[in-house]
């Protein structure tokens, strides 16, 4: 099923501050990823913005607060609104994270890691099955960075990710920056990690740069992509027929030409491995 997904190419996570430059450089961006939450309960102006983007670019909705890993179940109201948005956009796929963000009436406010256990896999699969009752567009799941390592792991992170996507029959949104960040902070080998992942499930990549603070690499989406992440991209794209790659620059936005330079680099990598034109 995943091999039939269209190849979208090289794209950008949409951020409103660069909308003018985006349209003046449209040919350099193949598709856009939008943060779905920005368009839920949206004002009329935000809805017009989304219509404008959708008329000019293929759009992939990227959700951040569905909390697929919540053992207490999903927020049905949020799911309903998300389903309506995805139906409106009719994208080739949409994405969320392997994490939880809500529990016991508390909205944590950020993506929080799950324990690498069978129970967590079951919870994810159960919630994803519920999601599929509302949304029949293919779902891909992203690996997150984490600052807390939860005890009681029954498997490695890579095995956990693999188990989740295989059991739930989802694709994988491999965030190579997150992979690099976790590998640096927790001292593991990225190549071993990649070997353990089901590469036939990898649909899309995310990339960007972070920064160091007090000896910890922070996934801040605020810097240009470092050489180690470019190497990872090269490695993955060489092995896997990835359908699309997104530059996820959120903060410290540079002149747009810097962003398009990174997109061009990603495009060249893809071209050299005949992934996209």
């Amino acid at each position: 099923m995943l091999s039939h997904l269209p190849t979208l190419g090289v794209g950008l996570g949409f951020r409103e501050p660069f909308i003018s430059d985006l349209f003046l450089n449209r040919q350099q961006v193949d598709f856009l990823e939008i943060v779905a939450e920005h368009y839920l309960d949206a004002s009329w102006q935000k809805q017009q913005e989304l219509k404008l983007l959708a008329t000019h670019f293929p759009i992939i909705p990227h959700a951040i607060n569905l909390s697929l890993g919540s053992a207490e179940g999903l927020d049905t109201d949020y799911l309903r609104k998300l389903a309506a948005l995805i139906k409106q956009l009719n994208p080739p796929w949409w994405s969320e994270h392997i994490c939880f963000t809500k529990a016991g009436g508390v909205d944590i406010g950020h993506l929080s890691p799950l324990p690498y256990t069978q129970e967590a896999v079951e919870v994810l699969c159960r919630n994803i099955a519920e999601v599929r009752r509302w949304i029949d567009v293919p779902l891909i799941l992203e690996n997150i960075t984490y600052m807390v390592k939860l005890p009681g792991a029954e498997m490695t992170e890579a095995q956990f990710l693999g188990e989740v996507v295989e059991r739930s029959d989802c694709g994988l949104l491999l965030d190579v920056t997150n992979l690099h960040t976790n590998a640096v902070n927790y001292s593991y080998d990225v190549h071993d990690f990649l070997q353990q992942l089901p590469s036939d499930r990898i649909v899309q990549l995310h990339f960007v740069g972070g920064h160091w603070h007090d000896g910890i690499l922070i996934d801040s989406h605020s810097q240009s992509t470092p050489v180690e992440v470019w190497q990872l991209i090269e490695e993955v794209v060489a092995r896997v027929p990835v359908k699309g790659i997104i530059l996820e620059r959120d903060e410290n936005l540079p002149p747009f030409a810097e962003l398009t330079a990174e997109l061009q680099k990603a495009r060249n990598i893809g071209r050299s491995h005949s992934r996209w034109g």
Partner: protein, 314 residues
């Protein structure tokens, strides 16, 4: 003859006829309103061009004056013209004029002597009239301008509507006067006011069609960030031209070309009503994605050097 003098309308009691007449007026006005609806109302908009033409957009917004504005400003940005307080003149050591587009060359040649900003704009507008036809035609083909044949149709509809109101009203007026009834003030007032309103309604026109208005709004929303770029970053010549094309000279206030803005709008002018677009004001926009919890401006604005988690409350 008897039928003309005695029929349901002629014999209708005064107040009843007024009610009937008002109903006819309302129906006529509503019918005319439906008939003069802009035919482009439900048409999809054109795509934002990959390489927008500032002159075409300027014509869309303000016709010849818009194009003249852009050409004039372009010459200033590229060093062919200069602003000295309230006047605009050619730069003595200006670059080679062969690099100019024909429309810019026309404007440049027209401003051979120093003149006030408003006079310069007037002269520039005069000089580029011939070039406007091509832009007008392109925009007409896309149905972004209000076509003259639609206006002719509107006038026809209005005249027919006015005839209906006039005929019915004057017929009853003659009958009433013939019967010695002189309390016809309301009848005359209704008729006259509705005809005036109808003729005003059908003859008012914007140079833009509905499609053109919405398209212009969409262009302005898409490129609104150019206003921020002009104030705080380093826009290119093209960026500046597009800015002036979309938002006029007013958009140059507070930019590096504030003097040009002031040449048209001397400092005594002040705006008291401000409008705010949802997306452009920093008070209400959020750019957070799904990165690390330090991905928001908390890191860059932290007083302890850009980190997150290392300082602040525990």
């Amino acid at each position: 003859m008897n039928a003309l003098l005695h029929n349901p309308i002629a014999d209708m009691y005064g107040p009843d006829f007024l009610l009937f007449y008002c109903s006819v007026i309302v129906i006529t006005l509503v019918t005319c309103w439906r008939l003069v609806q802009d035919p482009t109302k439900n048409h999809p908009l054109p795509l934002i061009p990959a390489e927008p033409d500032p002159y075409q957009i300027a014509y869309l917004r303000s016709q010849e004056t818009g194009i003249a504005n852009v050409a004039l400003f372009d010459l200033i940005v590229r060093g062919y013209l200069q602003v000295n307080e309230q006047s605009i003149s050619q730069v003595p050591n200006h670059p080679d004029v062969s690099q100019l587009e024909p429309i810019e060359r026309e404007v440049f040649d027209k401003l051979s002597s120093s003149s006030t900003a408003k006079t310069s704009l007037w002269l520039a507008t005069e000089s580029i009239q011939l070039y406007c036809n091509a832009y007008e035609e392109k925009l007409q083909n896309e149905q972004l301008l209000y076509a003259s044949q639609w206006q002719e149709w509107n006038i026809k509809v209005g005249l027919i509507g006015a005839m209906i109101i006039f005929s019915l009203g004057s017929y009853k007026l003659l009958i009433a006067l013939g019967k010695g009834r002189y309390n016809v003030g309301f009848l005359i007032a209704n008729g006259v006011l509705s005809i005036i309103f109808l003729l005003w309604f059908v003859s008012r026109r914007s140079h833009l069609s509905y499609r053109g208005k919405v398209y212009l709004q969409q262009l302005q929303a898409t490129f609104t960030r150019l206003q921020h770029k002009a104030k705080y970053e380093m826009p290119s010549v093209f960026d500046y031209n597009l800015l002036v094309a979309l938002f006029g000279i007013e958009a140059l206030a507070g930019t590096s070309y504030d003097s040009y803005y002031k040449a048209f709008f001397p400092p005594t002018f002040s705006r008291t009503v401000s409008r705010r677009s949802n997306s452009s004001d920093s008070s209400c926009s959020s750019s957070s994605g799904c990165g690390s919890s330090c991905s928001s401006s908390s890191c860059s604005s932290s007083s302890c050097g850009g980190g997150c988690g290392g300082c602040g409350g525990s």
